[in-house]
């Protein structure tokens, strides 16, 4: 997709001046794609942790939104973006705790729990934003500082993309590496995968299924919260009602498309993020396409991705099935 986009953009210019301009545009486009993909990626990774342990999480949307709101509130209250990010992680974790409690302990239908969280999130955040700030939008938020890796960020094209990002983006990269490592190269990851595929076996091996699921779901909340905070604290720097606009669901689509594998999932997020970036670019180019068709684009892509892949993507086997320890009865 990105290749397509960049080809489209690069074939436009004819003169070297325009070529220079278009390489700048290309960099802009890539930066925008990355920036738009970050919340998606955090949410999708969060979803991955939760679902790999067997708990469906369609409440990612609500967690993103809560994180966005918490990030804004925290940052405004403390005057510092980092505080906002931390607060968002905590709040996200709490929402995750709620989902975990509902799904693991109470064994509520996991789809219903996720749905309830989404409703609650949009209700409470819209309500509170009006109550606290008097209108549907917060004041301008503090900025997240950009980290410039010395020397390297001066390399043309590659430099700004890879070595001049803010803290959160680097955190994401770290997260991908750590996630993959934990999942496939540690005993904890093994336990997690066992819990998601065949909890009974995990249980009989002495693993506490409920504990593992709690931890993963809370983690998914924390990650989604952080991603949500990036929505508000990132480049737009304000919070408004429903700022997440369905990104949580696109993250889910990315998760399925990425077959519950960390790297593939994040790449899918990049795909969808670049779709959104493309939409904004085209709008800016003043081409007379009604903006709605462009706004639709990420969702359509996600839908087509799912359809194209249908049936070949296998979720963790025990996904969505609450684990009941056999105690009474035989």
């Amino acid at each position: 997709m990105m290749i397509l986009n960049s080809v489209v953009l690069l074939t436009f210019p004819l003169t070297t001046e325009e070529a220079l301009q278009s390489s700048v545009q290309f960099i802009d486009f890539v930066l925008a794609s990355i920036s738009l993909s970050v919340p998606l990626a955090f949410a999708a990774l969060g979803g991955l942790w939760s679902e790999r342990s067997g708990v469906i999480n369609i409440g990612l949307e609500g967690m993103l939104l809560s994180g966005a709101f918490a990030g804004a509130v925290g940052a405004l209250w403390a005057g510092d973006a980092i505080a906002g990010l931390l607060f968002a992680i905590v709040v996200g974790g709490l929402v995750g705790l709620l989902h975990a409690y509902l799904c693991v302990t109470l064994k509520v239908n996991q789809l219903v729990s996720g749905l309830a969280i989404n409703l609650l999130a949009i209700g409470l955040t819209s309500f509170l934003v009006r109550v606290i700030y008097g209108e549907g939008i917060t004041p301008r938020l503090p900025e997240i500082t950009t980290l410039n890796i010395p020397l390297l960020h001066h390399i043309p094209v590659v430099g700004p993309i890879f070595f001049q990002q803010d803290l959160v983006v680097y955190a994401l990269v770290l997260l991908i590496i750590v996630s993959t490592y934990i999942l496939y190269s540690t005993g904890h990851g093994l336990a997690l995968r066992a819990v998601g595929d065949y909890p009974k076996a995990a249980d009989s091996s002495g693993i506490n299924v409920a504990f593992v699921r709690y931890v993963s779901v809370i983690a998914s909340g924390c990650l989604s919260g952080l991603g949500g905070a990036y929505l508000s604290l990132g480049h737009v720097r304000f919070f408004t009602e429903n700022i997440s606009a369905g990104k949580g669901f696109i993250a889910l689509a990315a998760l399925i498309f990425g077959r519950w594998n960390p790297v593939a999932t994040v790449l899918s997020c990049l795909l969808f993020g670049s779709g959104e970036a493309l939409q904004l670019r085209i709008q800016a180019l003043n081409v007379d396409i009604p903006y709605q068709f462009l706004t639709m684009l990420p969702y359509v892509i996600a839908l087509l991705a799912l359809v194209g892949l249908a049936g070949r993507s296998l979720p963790p086997t025990a996904l969505g099935i609450p684990y009941i320890k056999e105690e009474a009865g035989r």
Partner: protein
């Protein structure tokens, strides 16, 4: 020397007493059998021993010292490990990963090192496995070895095996017995739960018979006969022979020619089966699970697509008729393997289940609207006719016992006087009483003139019920023998794919040689 002693073990579930003051002694190096029918309390007792349940009364002694297990991990730490009937293995993970699951929590997992350790161990115990293989791809007998390795890896001295031979071929059973004898010789203690008398008599030193939660008796192998053991188990004389009258053969009902069927993964499950079935006879289909039995039953019932070959019912070719067509127009009864998953809608009432195949037909409905009085009459009649023991007719099927549920299925499938009955593992999970009932019903149908396909993995059952026996192996019929004249040895040989000939035995399939 007594290694393990249970004294007065009692366990209640509500008002139901599953284990009632059970006393048991096991010596180290002994292979001790626990015999009993379904519901006698064997599994409960073993679950207590392996730490899954807590006893309500009594005490466990390990080498003379009283112990209490708070969990299965706790029991394992004391050296007691259970190998369950349904393996506790994650199919998606490798052998090594499954064995070390739950034991490693460091920051680095060196799979290669662990794999080597496991390979060494497997060689020591003579339990050949490939540590890197994915468990889901392994044959059942090998998976069982992984299960055994799993508990041995954790250093257990007492192994409890719960109905381990249910899913094995005779040769795999032999391998298992060799392994168990070896373990016993190296000072491990084996507890062997089973209801298969022949096996127990072959393998075990002593047998403890449980009946209705209590110890009926503990006997030494060799001092009792099979019939006496059975009597201890059930509490009355058990007939090992249903006294089947000779078949009253009628016309050809079913004609299958060169049938080819694929399984869910689009691999060939049935590779050219031909046979005929006449009215009034039972054709038993024996063979270890997974050789195409399910696909055969599904294909004839119309639930699976046939890639090649023909099926004719009373001369009419029905090869490509859909399930719907077959349900509506033919009289085929299908007793499926898993009644809870396939045969019944658990949350529906008995009435609603009884009309599952006929709901679209008069007298139960007309123009898409139900006629409730006819449905009710049918329910009432079925309950009486098929001896379904219920306190109320309104009960939902998930509130019934396994035996009663199967009776509901029978009532539905048999009440239309079907010409062809496909019975797939009809007695699975049923106790002796319910099994007897089902078998008698089917024999009655046979008398009436129905043609019956009786598919089961229990050899004794098949041999008892059938007029002819077809042995299924890798999607083909190895041979069809006459039930009255065949022997266990012959059947055992057929099971492994060797067709009987006068002098030599040849393998039916030319594909990969079976690795064991």
């Amino acid at each position: 020397m007594v290694y393990l002693r249970l004294k007065g073990i009692t366990k209640r579930f509500g008002t139901f007493v599953a284990n009632n003051a059970i006393d048991l002694d096991v010596n180290s190096g002994e292979i001790h059998a626990i015999l009993g029918e379904n519901g006698a309390g064997k599994t409960t007792l073993m679950n207590i021993l392996s730490g899954l349940y807590q006893p309500d009364g009594g005490q466990i002694y390990l080498q003379g010292r009283p112990v209490r297990f708070s969990s299965s991990s706790d029991a394992i730490q004391h050296g007691i490990g259970m190998i369950h009937q349904h393996f506790m293995l994650v199919p998606q993970l490798s052998v090594t990963e499954n064995i070390i699951l739950g034991t490693e929590f460091g920051s680095k997992l060196n799979l290669r090192q662990k794999a080597n350790e496991i390979e060494l161990m497997s060689r020591n115990y003579n339990l050949q496995v490939d540590p890197t293989a994915i468990v889901g791809n392994l044959p059942v007998g090998t998976q069982q070895r992984v299960e055994i390795l799993k508990v041995l890896y954790r250093g257990v001295k007492v192994l409890i095996l719960d109905e381990p031979t249910a899913v094995l071929t005779p040769s795999e059973v032999e391998s298992l017995f060799i392994i168990l004898r070896q373990l016993a010789a190296t000072n491990h203690t084996i507890l062997f739960i089973s209801h298969k008398l022949d096996e127990l008599l072959d393998l075990c030193n002593r047998v403890t018979v449980l009946r209705r939660g209590q110890v009926a008796e503990t006997v030494v192998n060799g001092s009792v006969s099979k019939a006496e053991l059975a009597k201890l188990m059930v509490g009355r004389d058990v007939l090992f022979d249903l006294q089947k009258p000779p078949p009253n053969l009628g016309t050809d009902v079913l004609q299958v020619r060169n049938l080819h069927v694929e399984d869910d993964r689009h691999l060939a499950a049935i590779q050219g089966i031909s046979f005929g079935l006449r009215a009034g006879e039972i054709l038993g289909i024996a063979g270890v699970d997974g050789n195409g039995q399910r696909e055969l039953a599904d294909a004839i019932a119309g639930l699976r697509h046939i890639t090649q070959g023909t099926i004719k019912l009373e001369g009419v070719e029905i090869t490509h008729w859909s399930a719907q067509q077959r349900v509506r127009q033919l009289k085929i009864g299908y007793i499926p393997e898993d009644r809870q998953k396939i045969g019944l809608v658990m949350s529906f009432s008995i009435s609603k289940n009884l009309i599952l195949k006929t709901f679209n037909q008069f007298p139960f409905s007309r123009h898409g609207i139900f006629l409730f009085s006819a449905i009710q009459t049918n329910t009432h009649r079925s309950i009486e006719q098929f001896d379904i023991r219920v306190t109320s007719e309104q009960l939902k099927v998930n509130q019934l016992s396994g035996g009663n549920q199967q009776k509901v299925v029978l009532a539905r499938e048999l009440s239309g006087n079907p010409k062809l009955i496909i019975a797939m593992q009809p007695c699975r999970g049923l106790d002796v009483g319910a099994t007897e009932y089902v078998q008698r019903q089917l024999l009655a149908e046979r008398q009436r003139g129905a043609a019956i396909l009786y598919i089961s993995t229990e050899l004794e059952e098949v041999m008892m019920m059938s007029d002819r026996i077809a042995m299924m192996y890798r999607g083909q019929f190895v041979d069809i023998v006459d039930a009255a004249t065949t022997t266990r040895e012959e059947i055992g040989l057929l099971m492994t794919g060797n067709r009987r000939t006068n002098t030599t035995t040849d393998l039916v399939t030319t594909s990969l040689i079976e690795t064991e």
